[in-house]
Symmetry: C2
Subunit: 225 residues, 2 copies
């Protein structure tokens, strides 16, 4: 008996064409007016450090954490943190983002039968909340759990259990829909949540546990749930 | 009854001062003779894609994978792959690397009592093998397991089980020593391996399972094992 449906955000509900890193880097550089060579070197090192922190400690590096690391490396004080944080958010919001086909219909349909949750890894959760509003789907969610707000990322079980508690649902009565074999499918399966993999046609990594169900578009959920 | 001791490589056995990314980027750019702006943009995007592949699929991105992604993005054919792979390895080997204090004594002592293994996440395993020779510690290891050679990274249980099979040791008769709470401690604990955390004084992340033992230097292993 299913009681709650949880979704991933990036790629699963919202599609992106570009990579955002260069845009953000150039906007930061323009704002701080640091020489290109010095700035780029420090920015790249900071991005590497942020990845290593995420990897070694499974801890989210928020946009503010990233900005503070960068300013420290550039030997600039903390004064521009708020401005850069705004620029960081704007850089993401200016990307070419689209709601995935069928997302709204599926959410609207599922909401009449189940509790609906969102679990997203993000360095700037505020932006996810703004995008949910922009695409007019925020009202469908009973619970929104963002890694930079609670500090822990998928695939760690904690973030799934936290979301389940907020939906008052045990893992065996929940399904999770996502596009990442590792973060979403493995993360959900580790907690005993039924894992639905939204495939884009790639071969499924043979070393990871298989999802319970594979779909190739959100509309398939209308028949299945 | 302990039968095997397994070690992480980077930071645990070998210390690094610099970050290697800028060096590698500049050497690639010099070799390919692409305009700085175009090259840097493509390189940064490739680094982002590589991180996302590692994250989404828990699959290692090898040095050759990275180089091929980069050349595709630059719209250059595969001809320079071998040269760039050599430059990639040289860039790592030219870093300021040192064997951690006590490493040799500890390995020499443990070898008289236990089987010794190495499990390392690395995009270019050949370099780890060369460094083990440079530091004259290769001969202490009965088994060396590198993520780019088997395709799967820590903290996935597969890589730990693979190493244990090669040492003919069940998990409950093994210890793993590493400096990453997520990759090493969580990875080992998930498999039922006794996890020793080599701390550099940071606070232990409260959301991860605690190690079985915390040490602040390799020499502590002489008293404990």
């Amino acid at each position: 008996m299913i009681r709650a449906c949880l979704f991933d955000f990036w790629i699963t509900l919202v599609e992106i064409d570009q990579l955002d890193i260069p845009t953000r880097k150039e906007r930061f550089r323009d704002f701080l007016k640091v020489a290109k060579d010095i700035f780029d070197h420090c920015y790249d090192e900071t991005a590497t450090i942020a990845d290593r922190l995420r990897e070694r400690f499974a801890k989210e590096v928020t946009s503010r954490d990233f900005i503070q690391l960068l300013l420290k490396r550039l030997e600039i004080g903390d004064d521009p943190v708020d401005d850069l944080d705004r620029i960081y958010r704007e850089a993401v919001l200016d990307l070419d983002l689209r709601l995935r086909e069928g997302a709204k219909e599926v959410l609207n349909y599922l909401r009449s039968k189940y509790r609906i949750g969102l679990i997203s890894n993000t360095s700037v959760g505020k932006v996810v909340r703004q995008l949910l509003k922009r695409f007019d789907i925020e009202r469908y969610f009973d619970s929104i759990v963002l890694s930079d707000e609670i500090g822990i990322r998928k695939p760690e079980p904690y973030i799934f259990h936290y979301a389940l508690r907020r939906l008052d649902t045990p893992p065996e009565q929940a399904v999770f829909i996502g596009d990442s074999p590792y973060l979403d499918v493995l993360g959900a399966r580790r907690c005993g949540i039924y894992a639905i993999y939204l495939s884009r046609g790639e071969e499924y990594p043979p070393h990871l546990p298989r999802p319970d169900l594979i779909i190739d578009g959100l509309a398939s959920l209308l028949d299945r749930l």
